[in-house]
Amino acid sequence: MTTEKASYIGFTCAYTPLALIDAAGYVPYRILPMGDAPDMAGQLLHDNLCPHVKRVLDRAMDNDLPELAGVVLLNSCDAMRRLADVWPKVRPKDRVILIDLPITSDDPAVSYFGRELSRLADTLFQWGERPVTQETVAASIDRYNQVALLFGSLRERLRNGGVSGGAARLQSLYNRAVTQPWDETFQFLEGVAEETNTPSVGQNGVPIFLFGNVLPDPEAFGLFESCGVRIVDEDLCTGSRVFAPIKMEKSEETLSQLARGILRRPRCARTLLTTQPGVLAAEVLARAAECKARGVIACSAKFCDPYIARIPGVRETLRKAGLPLLHIEGDCTMRSFGQQRTRIQAFTEMLRR
């Protein structure tokens, strides 16, 4: 357990280079769209904007954040860019940087993103902790790869029904891991990994692959299980996607490797593979088949254009493969999510037949 007071850098997107922030001596703190902050973001952002971004802004406006040394935002979508626009209005003292995130992951995009990461490294140094070197970044990548490995083993156990507390517990671990210092994260994850296999609460549930963007509330996963669902794997930007391991080769410059690793991790719908338009659908099908799911649930924040546009294609692909899809749109509150209970139950019953 660390004894020094942590110096947090706020972030909001799963593509954020946590290892780089760690290497600069900061603790990455994900501003999750949770909590009791009142709805205030509508004063600055239009009603039809992503509720993820608006809940994050609500927290900022309500001062429901720890002391932040700075905020790193990624230009991942229109809504995130608008968040970068309004952040200085609500927290004028915060240091904020917007890092561009290419929309593809080809080699020129990797090179460009590497330069953006270099700009971030310089900025973090200017913000005052410690210089970022190839060695410190490599060491931090290695640290986060260790965390990714632990999460990988927990996901494997979850698939086999061996994580006490099930998917809800795993989600609470993800939430801790994106808001606490690395050493604390690693310590508690090791502890969980050492636990004896305990059947999860939803052991007899229908195996489901869950994908989408933002679903950080463990209570949502509890709701799934109470409806007879057993999440056997997921691909969410508040879940496993954050902790995909980064492959390292000694021969290449570290930031380039970090850029490639981040851009080529399991994709958010906003990232394209130009040689295969709509590839997300095939990827969802492959992941669902791999974990032997009998159905797929898509969870997306309302007004999220990248997912809105891809869900019909995913539905079509899954339908052809005989795999049912349930799409749930939410506003990042359990209030809206709870209203989906009947649909989830009906979906589960349909799959049991």
Partner: protein, 409 residues
């Protein structure tokens, strides 16, 4: 069917132009000709994002336009409703952009020509990229993506310039149309000529009273780029310049007895509606400028155009953070001596409408009131004419009652 429609339209306009030449009619004719080519089955075709370098594509002999353009054509023709419904049945919710739903529905109904290539542009919006990707999948068509950085640093410009170069190779590989140096140089000269004429035309439009009215320049700024690199763009810009110069010389204003000078933000409502007429006739309010009616870019170096094309693309007012757009709006407000602004807040537009609070604040600094309307500029089905009319009337009363209001009577 569509080709016949555009053939007839173009023939009609050509005849009318012989009888009475106006800049607007010349501009509309060029739009009809583009649609003719798009539906001809004989031209190489590229569906693109808004920020594609159309002058390069024109130089390659590729007929191209941004997909939203076709959505606007459907809306203007009153036929968008059936396509919007088709997209909604396919699972695209009404929360998403109407332009994109319209073309997705049209493609599903077989009313959109199958392109040779598609070119998505990450600016101005995420939704546009998603729509183009969906269409590329629907058409099983090669897709190229221009990732447009938000800033104009050297690294960003170089990254985009390289992508544009590769785009040319990509288009050549999939269409067999090469880009030779002479055609490229010619296209860039034409782009620069059109730019010069447009600058002069916009200066004339700034006069008090303005020779421009809403119907003259509707969609001009967003659509002119489709014709850049060709003689047509030069002719159009020069026709407007000459017409505005003549009107100014004769003391003719766009709106007779101009009392208010308004700015229309983002995009126009494309289907028929009576709001502009009401503003002009009841309040002598002239919409003297649409937000994209501007030349915000430097001339392109015809000998080495890629850097200039990249800089122009990055400089697009809707690209990147809202700061660029706000500065641009403020510049126009001051240049055109705007009394008030109308923001249609196109429903489903995260990048544009998402910034409306910031726009309101920026205009407040200049003491310029803005009215936010809730409307889907592509979708007439939920158009609340009475409500919008009432709100605009109230807005005009506010403008009229402001102390020290400039009167141009």
């Amino acid at each position: 069917m569509m080709k016949q429609l555009f053939d007839d339209m173009a023939a009609d306009m050509e005849a009318r132009l012989l009888d009475h030449y106006t800049a607007r009619l010349r501009f509309t004719l060029e739009n009809a000709r583009l649609c003719q080519r798009l539906y001809s089955d004989t031209h190489r075709l590229a569906w693109c994002g808004v920020c594609a370098p159309f002058d390069l594509l024109n130089a390659m002999g590729i007929s191209s336009c941004f997909v939203e353009y076709l959505g606007a054509v459907f809306a203007a023709a009153g036929s968008a409703g059936q396509f919007l419904e088709e997209a909604e049945h396919a699972g695209f919710p009404t929360d998403s952009c109407g332009w994109h739903r319209a073309v997705i529905g049209a493609a599903a109904k077989g009313m959109m020509p199958i392109p040779d290539v598609m070119i998505a542009t990450s600016s101005p919006c995420t939704g546009g990229v998603a729509a183009v990707e969906h269409l590329a999948r629907t058409f099983d068509c090669p897709l190229y993506v221009l990732a447009i950085p938000p800033d104009d640093s050297e690294s960003s410009v170089r990254y985009l310039a390289d992508q544009i170069r590769h785009m040319v190779d990509f288009v050549s590989a999939h269409t067999g149309e090469a880009l030779d140096d002479d055609r490229l140089r010619y296209a860039m000269h034409k782009t620069n000529e059109a730019r010069e004429a447009a600058i002069e035309m916009f200066h004339l439009a700034q006069r008090i009273p303005s020779p421009a009215r809403a119907a003259d320049l509707r969609n001009f700024g967003i659509t002119l780029p489709l014709f850049l690199g060709t003689e047509a763009a030069v002719e159009i810009a020069q026709a407007y310049r000459d017409e505005f110069a003549a009107r100014s010389g004769q003391g003719i204003s766009g709106v007779q007895g101009e009392r208010f000078r308004l700015m229309w933000l983002q995009e126009a409502i494309q289907f028929r509606h009576p709001l502009i007429k009401m503003l002009e006739e009841n309040y002598q309010a002239a919409i003297v400028i649409e937000e994209l009616d501007d030349i915000y870019w430097e001339p392109i170096d015809a000998e080495d155009p890629y850097i200039g094309l990249a800089q122009r693309t990055i400089a697009f007012p809707f690209n990147g953070q809202a700061d660029r757009r706000l500065k641009h709006i403020k510049k126009l407000v001051q240049a055109y001596k705007i009394d008030g602004a109308i923001n249609p807040c196109h429903w489903g537009c995260r990048q544009g409408t998402g910034a409306r609070g910031l726009i309101g604040e920026a205009l407040k600094e200049l003491d310029v009131p803005v009215i936010n309307l809730e409307v889907d500029c592509a979708d007439a089905r939920n158009f609340s004419e009475g409500q919008l009319r009432t709100r605009l009337e109230a807005f005009m009363e506010v403008l009229d009652s402001r102390p020290g209001r400039r009167s141009t009577n």
